[in-house]
Symmetry: C2
Amino acid sequence: MRVGEFELIDKIRRRVKNSDELRLGIGDDCSSIAVPLDHELVTSTDLLLEGVHFRLDWTDLFSLGMKSIAVNISDLAAMGARPLSVHLAVGLPLNFSDQQVDQFLDGIFAGLDRYNVVLAGGDTCKSSDHLVISITVQGLCHKDRLIKRDGAKVGNDLWVSGTLGDSGLALRFLQQKQGLTEFLDQRHHRPEARIELGSSLGGLSLATAMLDLSDGIDGDLRHLLKASEVGARIELERLPLSHEFRTELQKDAALFELVLCGGEDYELLFTAEPDKRSRIESLSADMNISLQRIGEIIAEPALHYCEATGLNYQLQSGAFDHFSSTRDRSCE
Amino acid sequence: MRVGEFELIDKIRRRVKNSDELRLGIGDDCSSIAVPLDHELVTSTDLLLEGVHFRLDWTDLFSLGMKSIAVNISDLAAMGARPLSVHLAVGLPLNFSDQQVDQFLDGIFAGLDRYNVVLAGGDTCKSSDHLVISITVQGLCHKDRLIKRDGAKVGNDLWVSGTLGDSGLALRFLQQKQGLTEFLDQRHHRPEARIELGSSLGGLSLATAMLDLSDGIDGDLRHLLKASEVGARIELERLPLSHEFRTELQKDAALFELVLCGGEDYELLFTAEPDKRSRIESLSADMNISLQRIGEIIAEPALHYCEATGLNYQLQSGAFDHFSSTRDRSCE
């Protein structure tokens, strides 16, 4: 890598856009944000490590840059917040070429543009071996419109956006050295953060609790249930699956576990009062985003998976864990 | 490492304190902050990589945890802001023992307590080899009290807190496999962020521009000069040196470069109107922090080092660069 730290920062600065709320951006010790009246500032941080969260032989650097932004913005979507700014800290491997740095930055800026966020600051250094990416996103939300995890009530419907398991299926194929269709490649390497949906669900007060699915329903939903001190019953035949996933499932029924534990769906899982069903269905049609009612919140603090037969389904594997996941094991 | 991700997060959550402004902390998709009227929210991110920024054979994990917090909080000090919250993202090596994780976390929490900040969120994962630490700090500042880098005016005095070069000298000794005195060990491994000083300089409107010295005056001051579109003349004999540094300097005059380029001083460098001298000296006495006037801001956009002889001093090495610094080279 020929460019030095300050040249790289200058290179990045030249591409940075402005924002009304961002009073101070790259170039000072800190960025500074003026938060509008009655709004709160929401923040989330993610760390993405080569060999743990991604492999450079499985993804191109442009997609990796875009995905790094999207998966962080997804946390803002899960609060119903409007994304505002990103701080990017990156450790670039010594053997990276200037072209590789550019490809990664092009992906980062494509992600920033997609979600209309500004790069407000960050940190760059070399890394002795692996690529290290740390992204902090900040967004704004009216203080009364924030959708937390602790608002689910007994009798609420449980909803999910999009389809589940596609990203997990793509990962399985990559592990087995199988090629990916365009659809699965997009679902795994170019996930979309459901930011407009999250913001609408918050703005219209339709959701009582919400999170984004990064580790799979089985792991993530348990956090929401614990926070809300409730349980849930999920009707398995209602879980939304893509045509491609269904086709593979017919060949291997065991793939179903990926729907519950595959991880990296980045879909929104939310709860809502039953009297909001028609408004949610209208929103789904208006936004052209599939929203599926998959179960309900119950008082018993447990998570039941109900089959069409009326029996309870038992998961074979455990919940996704970033310390010992199938994803991690595949990268060692 | 025996504990899983969720156990580790639970372990961390049990130690977390509250804050009035932090409306939502660990446990949701994002944290949320209510910013007081007429205040702005300031943010800074740092990435600390094992083998680049620190070596585990040179530091204990408790000190590393404390230092990780302090060097980030130092960026808030440089704005005159009050620290509020920290987001911690950490990639823990697979071979770390539970005891090592605890030592590091003890240091993190000691740092949080020292600066009265709350852990508002973060991300944990395993790292295939090296320890990776990314910290994002957030603070609050009255919108009219923020001290930026672009406010230096021709004729302003240039001031610096504490003493310079001690941390660089400690690093030099570590590279040469020499032991450290308690003083140098503290200066290198347990730096203090000058948060009360920064906040007073802002609150009393004493400083016109400010930054914290992380890369050495020669590198950092140039950013301030560029932002303010001015130059500076520094009187070298005015640069504040510790007794220990002076003693070593008498043995080896070449060590003087560490005063200008050693890095990691985490002292505050600021400019002020000459009519503020007595108030700054009073503040220095009140806070028991040495504040030294080291030069002045000039119109010519250059940085001059003036010796007592009246001649200009020429640096032999260049400015500190996180991509190719002596510090970095020492870690390869």
